[in-house]
Symmetry: C2
Subunit: 416 residues, 2 copies
């Protein structure tokens, strides 16, 4: 790939010839327009036009995946995989403008009954322009002291409704249970029922006292989703209270908000992808996580949500593993920007074996709710059972076998 | 509606009983969870839980609109319209956290084979917390001096590839043609091939000189899409050069970015919705414009893109008119937050009659590309023909009739 160009891959479905459809994509997203205009000279096209780098035709289908396309010319709706490239001189290494370029008006075009962004590849200029994750996997491990296994995490539940003091009391229970990581639910932000600063103060009092007593500092990701200047101020408050992580909802703050936080932060950013469903669930529309998550990693996300195997959502296990592997794949040779994938949603002692087998890594946060709090012997046994399930997985020992000598795991797998 | 609660309407499609599905929505997005936890007391639910305010069952379908749902229990996939409400105490009047609450994890749930946000209704606390459009319709009219008809606008084409001087030369032609409004294409931002400040300087030299000579100041919306602090600086630069508008791509900057710009701005913000296709084109997923556009209006959007009748995109005319009417409908009694709808995409002298008939308003920006530059008698005749088409539309005179005494319109309608 040229260091002067960036690329994007798409899955398209089109009622016209796929080559012609790809030309429309390239034109619409660079120097072309529907009526030819005087200024569009061959020289201008040479310096500014998008190029079709590859096109592989796939199957055709009889029914369009999305409404609004023109009628097919005869061969149904033809699918293809297309790669376009653009000169970086068009936009410079700018993530917000990259987003408008690779995914702007494209999916509204009548020439498509389906269009999904599959991947983007960026030249080194982007690596130089953005911070990327300042902590990532190694920084998160240093701050938590957890070096040789996944971080065991959980989410404060009920999601909303707790006062700061009730939140802190739950944190106390979880800290005593041996938890490594806790996050606010994405619904818990800074409402009058549980103000941010009061919550941080109450929770950090518990966490700091526990750390003084035991030497183990629980990482708590405080949800500071808000306006930009408020997020910076909230970050500073968490830092001042001795906190070690902040959380932001990516689709709520947006890319400019996340970049501002990424540049400002002195703490790992736990990036929550709520809203991901509306960006991804129609198979021939929106974004693959592989493409989408790169924007946020480069902007500074240290932890990124990937769902989990056998989750309570609609995502398949294959998709979960592909997303998590994406997080663990370097973005650039000189600046890998590795981010820690977060497994959550219905995670228990049952999934670590397959998760480790398929992911091939222990570099993740394994977050469970019921898997901890609903353990018949209490939260400490819940946390222990998850650690044991991971120890078994990493040792290649079946969980049921390992459970014979590990009662917490045994009770988690078979609570009767 | 209670001043202490906010509401959202949804179109859902579900394999389970719609009432049960609505309960899952309310639980997932407030105090509920999949495993019951100790802290979820009746008192906590009373203060924090979402409520089902209305549920109207619609048709059932045999095939799911989206993959990933659980199998239906027997009656196929049942559609319904659902209204939920939440206590504002959960999040306070915060737009970013509102987005996570009304649209966060919902569309990923297995209980749904379709889920679309149709509308949101906000209590007055939100009106007090955000600036809304600082200029809107009246401010835009004051700055342009266009009082009694739509603004006639256009977009610099080719979208990218022009140098600052070439851009300014095009602006010169358009200003002399009598244009009211010009915008950068959303692909033109701040790349090394056309740096922002150089472009602003070159364009404003032309616009200011034209204003000095004629008394008419063309409004140019400079695309400042970027990081937050850079957008503020670019705004200040445009202001200092005598510019009268800035443009931002909403899905590129995101909500926190737009709020920051909305609070900072002393110029009308031209809000570009590129990317809207991936948020809306699957009928049972994503957002209706009616719900989505309210976030950006409240954040400060003065102009909002709505597509146009018989556009080159996949959107239907009914949807275009509904969106534009949304922009012209007050958000709050005391703070209407009216925003000027922008009609564009394939607009010519042919559509004003139906646009005016269906919209019932002249408060819009009518942007045309080929409709101006491709007029057989040149750009001035192009602009004149569009003004004439609107004059005819507003007078209730058929364009072909009006054209008999208006040669520019005549040639636009029949260029032979």
């Amino acid at each position: 790939m040229s260091p002067e160009r960036f690329e994007a891959d798409y899955l398209i479905e089109t009622p016209v010839d796929p080559r012609r459809a790809a030309e429309v994509m390239a034109g619409e997203q660079s120097s072309g327009t529907f009526v030819s205009v005087p200024g569009e000279t061959p020289e201008l096209k040479a310096r500014a036009a998008a190029r079709i780098e590859a096109l592989t035709e796939l199957e055709a289908v009889d029914e369009p995946s999305l409404p609004g396309a023109i009628r097919p010319v005869g061969q149904g709706y033809r699918r293809a995989r297309v790669t376009l490239s653009w000169p970086i001189a068009n936009i410079g290494p700018s993530l917000p403008n990259l987003m408008a370029t690779v995914a702007g008006n494209l999916s509204e075009l009548q020439q498509f009954s389906g269009l999904r962004v599959l991947d983007v590849r960026l030249p080194a200029a982007f690596a130089a322009a953005y911070p990327g994750p300042k902590f990532g996997i190694s920084g998160t491990r240093s701050l938590t002291g957890v070096m040789d296994r996944p971080l065991i995490g959980t989410i404060i539940k009920p999601s909303v409704g707790f006062s700061p003091e009730e939140t802190a009391a739950t944190v106390q229970v979880l800290a005593e249970a041996g938890i490594d990581f806790i996050k606010d639910d994405e619904l818990q932000a800074d409402g009058p029922a549980c103000p941010f600063e009061d919550r941080v103060r109450a929770v950090m009092r518990v966490i700091n006292a526990h750390a003084d007593r035991t030497g183990k500092k629980v990482m708590f990701a405080f949800n500071l989703t808000d306006e930009v200047d408020a997020m910076r101020a909230k970050h500073d408050f968490v830092l001042a209270q001795g906190g070690t992580s902040v959380m932001a909802s990516l689709n709520s703050v947006g890319l400019a908000g996340m970049i501002a936080l990424g540049r400002h932060t002195q703490l790992p950013i736990h990036a929550h992808r709520n809203g991901w469903g509306y960006l991804s669930r129609a198979p021939l529309l929106g974004w693959s996580y592989i493409a989408w998550h790169k924007f946020w990693r480069l902007a500074g996300a240290d932890h990124m949500h990937c769902n989990g195997l056998q989750n309570k959502f609609s995502e398949s296990d294959d998709s979960v593993i592909a997303s998590a592997k994406g997080c663990l794949t370097p973005l650039f040779d000189e600046k890998p920007c590795l981010t820690m994938p977060v497994f959550s949603s219905g995670q228990t002692a049952h999934q670590p074996a397959e998760t480790f087998r398929r992911l091939g890594s222990m570099d993740l946060i394994y977050a469970a709710g019921g898997g901890i709090l609903a353990h018949p012997d209490g939260p400490a046994a819940g946390v222990t059972s998850l650690r044991e399930a991971w120890a078994a997985a990493m040792a290649g020992i079946p969980a049921t076998e390992y459970a014979k000598t590990h009662p917490a795991l045994k009770r988690a797998l078979d609570p009767r």
